[in-house]
Amino acid sequence: MKGLKLAKAALLPVLLLILWEVVMHVRNVQSDSIAPPSQIFVAFWNAMLDGTILSRTAETLRAAMLGLALGGGSALILSIILGLVPPAARLAQFTIEVLRPVPAVALIPVAILTLGFGYGMEISLVAFATFWPVLIYGHAAIVNIDQQLLDVGKVLRLKTFARVTKIVLPATLPRYFVAFRLATAVSLIIAVTVEIAANPLGVGYELMQASQSLHPDLTFALVLWIGLVGWALNAVLLFAQRRLFGPAGVAFGIQQ
């Protein structure tokens, strides 16, 4: 049954690929901007064998994950403070509303100016972009904790730190996980964008190089590869989320 489902899902893309290949051969297209699937696959295979793709991917993932840890981590802490101290949230609201809409990409020139090229500026930009979704989702999660759960912490006279680790965080963990899953996708997008636009690092830079040296086969191969990496990252996190918090979740014993 599962095989059949997979075959059904693969039917359309495979047909399109065959059509693409056939048209390219029949019309005998010679182009600097498009390549048949067979050549894309060969280019992908070669880049895979000589290690370029993997080492470039490692660079991109490194910048994305460090940026996510920095941005998401600080947003996690700030969202807890803003969630538990309403006056602080009111104080910060205006600043957040002003800064949040600034596109991370628009900060690339600023980052180059202040930090130069390299990991530093890419990590900072990823951190900026991933900070907001975690802050906003996390704050909403904490504000929505049932008041009675917080009252339980109060009447038992739990200290602030114990209240956060024993009640606030476990109660909001599933929502934080979703926030981080979304932020992970953002981190990859921003990292690749920064590499394409400016930074001589990672898959994005490799992609730009392939395009500028008129290698459509490698260009397409890299685009597909980036899509694959993003999909795999999300699939892993989704799997973890279902295992931890889903109907058979272990973190909650049984379903929430």
Partner: protein, 277 residues
């Protein structure tokens, strides 16, 4: 008993005893001209009430009479707009270690990610009981409320009555001298409710705990209480206080058929109906 000037033989006599009234008890909780308003809307007005040590006082009244508000003030979850709530002669200033609070909605009062044992443990963790001493204490407490075999179950795996028993165990873990109960059995079926009423009476008879119990069930109030405080709504204020002189220990059959029980029930019923019109 614990009352310093109390007449011991009088207290233990099975006959209806006036000694159970507040007059001979040491005052433990005092409301002194307590007012509370939410914005400009008054919630409770001019409440004066004294709860004596080891007394079981039931607050009863329709919704909007401020009974939960009064309870939350004693629990330190709410500060009155004016007036004072005293515990042991001192103003209540936030939750006290000796005061335990039992919530109505058990599904939200237990941590769903902790087992029954883990939920009881929370109270011990809060009062800094070393981890190696928690295990036996938790076991003992769960056995006390009849959940010895359910220590490893999560709240969602337990019935409503069992979840409320876990909450009772968690309250007892605090070793409180005052137990505040906010309609704790309101959401349970009749049989479970009666079983838990007797359970509470049995437990506090041993520990001599003072109880303030909020309910909207007349019979429950008379069955459990030494005194029943009836409140009027909008704004909440004390309408009348009824002394319950029924023999202890109470019994689900004989107490509920006792002429005094029936008389009180009638009196309270008429009273509440009067208040509604």
């Amino acid at each position: 008993m614990e009352t310093p000037k109390g007449n011991v033989s009088f207290m233990t006599a099975p006959a209806p005893t006036a000694a159970r009234s507040a007059a001979v008890r040491r005052p433990l909780i005092e409301f002194k001209n307590v007012n509370h308003a939410f914005g400009t809307r008054p919630i409770v007005r001019n409440v004066d009430l004294t709860v004596g040590q080891s007394e079981f006082v039931c607050l009863i009244g329709p919704s909007g009479c401020g009974k939960t508000t009064l309870l939350r003030m004693v629990g330190g979850l709410l500060t009155p707009t004016s007036g004072q709530v005293l515990f042991n002669g001192k103003p209540v200033n936030g939750p006290e270690k000796e005061i335990s609070f039992m919530f109505q909605d058990y599904s939200k009062a237990l941590l769903p990610w902790r087992t029954a044992a883990g939920n009881v443990s929370l109270a011990l963790e809060a009062s800094n009981v070393p981890s190696d001493q928690r295990g036996p204490r938790i076991k003992e407490l769960l056995e006390k409320v009849g959940l010895g075999n359910h220590a490893d179950h999560y709240p969602a795996q337990l019935s409503g009555g069992m979840q409320q028993r876990v909450q009772i165990a968690r309250c007892l873990a605090q070793e409180p001298s005052v137990l505040l109960m906010d309609e704790p059995f309101g959401a349970l079926d009749a049989m479970t409710r009666q079983a838990l009423q007797d359970e509470i009476l049995r437990l506090i008879a041993v520990s001599k705990t003072t109880v303030v119990f909020v309910t909207h069930d007349l019979e429950e109030a008379i069955y459990l209480g030494d005194r029943v405080v009836a409140l009027y709504p909008n704004p909440g204020r004390i309408a009348q206080v009824f002394d319950v002189s029924l023999p202890s220990p109470r019994d689900q059959l004989t107490t509920r058929e006792h002429p005094e029980f029936l008389r009180l029930r009638r009196e309270l019923f008429d009273f509440i109906r009067e208040g509604e019109t």
